[in-house]
Symmetry: C2
Amino acid sequence: MKRVTIYDVANEAKVSLATVSRVINGLEIVREDTRIRVENAIEKLGYKPNAIAQGLALQKTTSIALVVPEASFNYTGQIINGLLDVAKIYKYNIMLHTTTEGITEINEIIENIIKSRVDGVVIYNDKLLYEELVELTKYQVPIVLIGNRMSNENLACVYVDIEKAIYELTKEYIEKGKQDIAIIQDRKNPYAIDQLIKGVTRAFNEVGAEFDQYVEIPSHYRSSYEFLTNYFKGKKHDLIIAHRDSQALAAINAANENNIKVPDDMEVVCVIDTKYNAMVRPRLSSFSIPSYDLGAVAMRIITKMLHQEDFEDKEIELSYLYSPRQSTK
Amino acid sequence: MKRVTIYDVANEAKVSLATVSRVINGLEIVREDTRIRVENAIEKLGYKPNAIAQGLALQKTTSIALVVPEASFNYTGQIINGLLDVAKIYKYNIMLHTTTEGITEINEIIENIIKSRVDGVVIYNDKLLYEELVELTKYQVPIVLIGNRMSNENLACVYVDIEKAIYELTKEYIEKGKQDIAIIQDRKNPYAIDQLIKGVTRAFNEVGAEFDQYVEIPSHYRSSYEFLTNYFKGKKHDLIIAHRDSQALAAINAANENNIKVPDDMEVVCVIDTKYNAMVRPRLSSFSIPSYDLGAVAMRIITKMLHQEDFEDKEIELSYLYSPRQSTK
DNA sequence: TTGAAAGCGCTAACAC
DNA sequence: GTGTTAGCGCTTTCAA
């Protein structure tokens, strides 16, 4: 099947290309019978409009760029699904970009995004630096940030207030007299960890105490687990706060290794979990972060920005739900 | 920063747009000093070539479409990473499409892919029907299939022979006198399950036996687990073969519930696993399917097809590695 | 080595 | 209601 253009269709239907264009775009000003003729021609030739040409003519591509950190699809999977579902509704295509380690590379991605002339970009990246965002903003492309709280002219965001979540959790534990609380480092999510620390610290400060149990570990499980296996040899806490479920699991397994029983001897919670939390034993107490919704809302916001729809707030907070399970008492 | 085009750069540098184009594309025929002038202008104006316009002029978009089933990023994540890494090297952009349930929808996706004029498409989808592939092939766009074995004019594939894998595994168990082998259904991966059944059946047939223990279960864990919890009440097998690790875990948990110890009373293996297999106890014996490589190779093949590079075979088989762990003896 | 001009496929005034 | 035509931003002959 050779490339068939709008001209071919016009010829076949004995009309001008303008008319074909009108039919394609569903403009009402076309007479019934000529519309039918055109539609038949389209069908017969198997014509599909060239989105690239349309993009050039219309100055918009109806596609948006999605930037996520590499390798962690376990956590971003739901976000992507939410985003894609909404994108489908509004007929947007998604160009997927992933960030790896290395500051320089992000500039390549930006370069790429700009060149591709997407209509908007959605970013979920825990370590995106402010300067890079500014660079992107210069090109007046609407941006929605997932996770980070930040906004301006054409920058909006959707997030969950995990600082507050952890603050409240910590307060509860302090009230129960369990003040020995530790946070496990997560190299891959500096922003999130920052929020966790802030939350715990705030709760501690309110009772005149100080938080200083930030446990730094290599971020990959194997070493993380190994480190913790040692760590728990002579030590345990009332409560361990991890960011990802995989880290919480590492902690539990490591504790187990040292005969520390979870939740009896030590409790463990994590902030974001995956479907594997339904399968592990003990099941992890966690905050149900609405990942799917984060993606869906982000995409919805982009469409609003693109269609100049008014919207109340550029910073949208989604709520979490704490779900106590078997890793806490 | 307003839209700056090749004309603006040409003006700024006092050359024609043709020259600017040459500089952008690194053509050697530009004199040193004028090249510098152009480069300065580009820098000054912050010019980024419009990939859409280039796409129109060149009749290629340097982007490829990736089609994966929704929701299972746990398993496709590595494939995507592999694909993206290679795509980066060859400067291709990725348009992400996901398939949900429903036959009709796949046609929408195809429509979309064709309209977007990607240079090629990579498909990982265990239930893509042959007719749809044919529909796509009509548009003479190079296609690479991941997982399914199939090829023709502009259709290549990369896969792992899990039929053989399971055949060999089964043979081994039969030789050990463990003939009570069951396969757990996986609704989401009919093609893979089909391969598993074929493998086991072949091994059984060779010793004059017949395989008939295909356990049908709802595919979501909750119900899967619940079903199996009942299933194992009066029954157990020598070996359970699951496709995904999540299903194997469901089986193990369900068995546990009924005091069937894995691996002592019953052994369990799965074909593809995720990073969570490093954290669960017992750790699952599994075939290490090289997901990352599947993605990487698929992308590499596409580039070969696109650059008319010759390549030996349109069907590339990657090898698996069986890793016995704690769920088998 | 550089410039002029046609063309990639489509949209959107503006005529008729 | 339909056709003509001028772009959209870039590449690529063909001349100069």
